[in-house]
Amino acid sequence: MSFDPAVILDRWDEILAALGVTLGTWIAGVAIGLVLGFALALMQRGLGRAVRAAVRIVIEVVRGTPFLVQLFILYYGGPRFGLVLDPIEAGLLGLGVYAGAYFAEIFRAGFEAVPKGQVEAAACLGMGRATITARIVLPQMLVVILPALVNLVIILSKETAILSIVTIPELTFVIRGIGAETFAFVETTLALALIYWGLVEVAAGAGRWAERRVGRFLMPA
């Protein structure tokens, strides 16, 4: 069999556009996930036993089923209960919810990592729950969970590949398409692997930089 890299280089601009879609959905997914996850974690702290149980169940279901199946349910199953989404909408919603459940767990562990005594002292001094969370718990918690957050963000970048299966024009979809058209399966798959590897390395590097910056700033001595 022959090996012809030109196949990739010819259609570089398409690939670049696809990379844009990948990055876009990744960042959007992370953003939705962070907001949703934080909200879910907050709900788990207060708001009564029924809400807490419901949130727990939602988180466990989303974490316990494959992302692909969740996408199928949203994209193909959605119309059944009135939710008609185009691929990208379904992809963003799916990624956001999936990310949200995992972020929620990280935030929950973060909340529990702050010693309860510090919260008690703040409560005795008369500080309200919101103030305590904002001024005492969050600053300490963020330092502790940063590695886990970075890790999840990197995992999510890899999950974007699954969006290709519901025909979202991101990297995997477009490159596989090129491979199918030109029959250059090996070249395209290798290129795909290389690009993701690069993406993950850059993201991991950024994560390490962030961890160093935050560690130095917030916890002296």
Binding site: P66, V69, F72, G77, Y196
Partner: protein, 154 residues
Amino acid sequence: MPLLVQLLLVYYLLPFVGIDVPPLVAAIMALALCAAAYFAEILRGGFLGVPNGQLEAARLLGFRPAQVLWRIRVPLALRLTMPALVNECTMILKASSLISVVGVSELTRVSQNIVATTYRPLEIYVAGGVLYLVLNLALSGLGLWLSRRLGGGR
């Protein structure tokens, strides 16, 4: 890199270098590679987490290095990492849904086929999801039972 891409890589690369295997085998190889990487990380952390004091005590009592490794380090590392190992297993279970992409007839692929003929995507995919969930719960339960049987570790 994404598991999907790893899967495709193994699937396309093997025939290219002359190794012809059915899709299922290629898929299993890709999953195994991915799992191995994660398990290595987890176990490495586990080995590091075994308190040095216990290893020193063993050596002072006269255990040979190999005995220290197998009778003390490994069991303790396994106990320490049991939750992470079980967690990884559930992740592999979920990741298995991706091998449908290379044509393996597993739960997700079969669900897709059924949907194609019955036009009831919501019910079928939800059912599939429930099955995955049940499997994962069973896995987690197994992990809990194993932890308790192995005596809790500290």
